[in-house]
């Protein structure tokens, strides 16, 4: 495939898998957090918002190291997960997915929160006067209206996860075939003599995939704006 070596193919496939699961698994939590941030009047909103956005500004190596401390085999959460659920994250692809999810979370929440804030709550009031209970209002009115925002956030998360490097390499290292993602592989190829061609090939793939995801996200964001403007 495109003259890729088995290691390169493994890296691309691993990154796609990591990005997919990072997007899917964080979706419910991101939606819940976005709803809360957009609608709640509780105190402490600024604090939660700051916490969610923290990975955006921290050095990725710090995020990765914190993940290692928490979710590593000797970390508080990591040991509990291993003992009670048999889930090991450190030095596994699942750990790469977790690192990507944490790094992409702020982007996902931001896109969703904006689309939720753009929903006219008076439409939800109208639905309730027509007999719809709150959960029904959410399912039949709110959710369809914010769906483009949800998809845009997921596409952003996917693109971010495809490119996540610092936190991932700190948390799960760079083991070919096991935790070597696309960016990790590019990094490795730039470090060895004669690796330029492979690095360039993977770079092209990286740019294409990320660009595609961003385009999708942008188109969906425009659609949400159009739909909500036209009321």
């Amino acid at each position: 495939m495109f003259g890729l070596s088995p290691d390169e193919i493994a890296a691309v496939r691993l990154s796609l898998r990591v990005a997919f699961w990072a997007s899917v698994a964080s979706l419910p939590l991101a939606l819940a957090v976005s709803l809360w941030l957009a609608r709640s009047r509780a105190r402490g909103k600024a604090l939660i918002s700051a916490l969610v956005h923290l990975p955006l500004v921290l050095p990725p190596v710090v995020t990765g190291y914190l993940l290692l401390l928490l979710f590593g085999n000797n970390g508080v959460v990591g040991r509990w997960l291993a003992d009670s659920l048999g889930i090991v994250l450190a030095f596994r692809w699942t750990g790469a997915a977790l690192a990507s999810a944490v790094m992409g979370f702020p982007l996902m929440v931001r896109a969703m929160r904006l689309s939720i804030e753009a929903v006219d709550t008076r439409l939800e009031q109208a639905a309730s006067t027509l007999g719809a209970a709150p959960l029904w209002v959410f399912v039949t009115i709110t959710l369809p209206l914010i769906l483009p925002g949800i998809l845009a956030g997921s596409a952003l998360m996917f693109a971010k996860a495809m490119g996540e490097f610092g936190a991932t390499i700190t948390f799960v290292s760079n083991i070919p075939g096991l935790t070597q993602t696309l960016p990790s592989a590019i990094y490795t190829f730039t470090q060895v003599p004669g690796g330029d061609a492979a690095a360039l090939r993977l770079t092209a793939i990286s740019v294409a995939v990320s660009m595609g995801a961003l385009l999708i996200s942008e188109v969906l964001a425009q659609r949400v704006a159009r739909r909500l403007r036209s009321t």
Partner: protein, 371 residues
């Protein structure tokens, strides 16, 4: 339908205190903007939570804060037509219309979709998206959507306020059909005297969060001590449609005090009509006039006079069973030597009669008890 409301609600500096009973038919809530009309209907609908309230609809307690009862909006079955239609942008007109049907109780059959579509003239719109509709069409869909949820009571919050005059004239007959054909009870919020006079049988006037008048529409509208804007103050006349004069685009009506010509309307000859005549559109003469362009001259007696502002006098003229209000200058009243009990002729310009103020009298007032 009977709705009894006793509410105390505070929002910032604004205090709303209202106690009334709506007898069925169309109850108008009238007042300036900021008088608390929308707050009041939002409280009835359950979109706002009151500080203290007791709201009972047909014997069912919707809210009683002293007992800790507060039915959520979706369980009240009170329809609401908002000033802005609030159609769901992601659903077609059909989707909007059918939205409330899945939530209505199985025991309640209500009206059929076909009937509502026919009643509101929505047949050609069903496949359209709300964004592509005109303001008047959107409001008709919103009314249909509320009706198809089988409400026990329909709240309309200035449903015509965001429309221009032709659109308003287009919607009013539909609201009259709900009143007359479906026998649906409504609370109609408005700051237009013409609409209130045309549609309602009961009128509640709000000012600064308090009810300052509550009673049958015609007598309340004729009260001159209320805050009804001077521009709009006037009287409601009852008349019978005599004939249409297509050549001059006029309709001839017979009222208690004489014949009236109004802009051509669509009411059938022989039918009863309501007509709102603004006090500022009425002139008074002490002798019958012949050489005058105005064609509506009603014969009556001055029953009351009261000063209104520095230069104006509001004269109440009784013509048979009807009362007409005329707003004239104090100087004119002086020169004519007007006194109570005097015979006068009230002169109304036909072109001054707003078509929004002319409509059929409610044909059937079953279950309506006037207090």
């Amino acid at each position: 339908m009977t709705l009894s409301v006793d509410i105390e609600h505070r929002a910032g500096e604004f205090l709303l205190q209202a106690e009334f009973a709506a007898p069925g038919g169309v109850t108008a809530l009238f007042g300036r903007s900021g008088s608390g009309k929308t707050t009041l209907v939002n409280l009835i609908a359950g979109l706002l939570r009151p500080k203290r309230a007791r709201i009972v609809l047909d014997g069912e307690i919707l809210v009683d804060t002293s007992q800790g009862i507060e039915l959520p909006a979706h369980r009240r079955r009170i329809g609401y037509v908002f000033q802005d239609a609030r159609l769901f942008p992601h659903l077609s007109v059909r989707g909007n219309l059918l939205y409330g049907r899945r939530f209505r109780p199985a025991t309640r059959h209500g009206v059929s979709v076909d009937d509502i579509v026919a009643l509101l003239g929505l047949g050609d719109l069903l496949q359209r998206q709300p964004q592509t509709l005109s303001g008047g069409e959107q409001q008709r869909v919103a009314i249909g959507r509320a009706l198809l949820a089988s409400p026990r009571l329909l709240l309309l919050d200035e449903p015509l306020a965001s429309l221009d005059a032709p659109r308003r004239a287009e919607i009013l007959p539909y609201i009259e059909r709900l009143r007359d054909q479906l026998q649906l009870s409504m609370i109609y919020v408005s700051h237009s005297v013409a609409e209130v006079a045309r549609l309602s049988n009961h009128l509640i006037v709000l000012e600064k969060g308090r009810i300052i008048a509550d009673g049958a529409t015609a007598p309340v509208l004729a009260r001159s001590d209320l805050a009804i804007e001077a521009d709009d103050a006037g009287a409601v006349l009852r008349a019978t449609v005599v004939e249409h004069d297509a050549a001059f685009a006029l309709t001839r009506l017979r009222a208690a005090g004489g014949y009236l010509y109004v802009p051509l309307c669509t009411l059938a000859p022989g039918s009863r009509a309501h007509l709102h005549v603004r006090a500022r559109d009425v002139m008074l003469a002490t002798r019958a006039l012949n050489d005058v362009s105005a064609q509506n001259i009603l014969d009556g007696t001055v029953s009351a006079m009261r000063e209104r502002g520095a230069h104006a006098v509001e004269v109440r003229v009784t013509c048979g069973d009807d009362t007409i209000l005329a707003s004239i200058t104090r100087r004119a009243a002086d020169r004519l030597g007007l006194t109570e009990g005097m015979r006068v002729y009230a002169i109304i310009k036909s072109v001054a009669i707003d078509s929004a103020g002319l409509g059929p009298e409610a044909t059937n007032r079953q279950g309506v008890q006037e207090s």
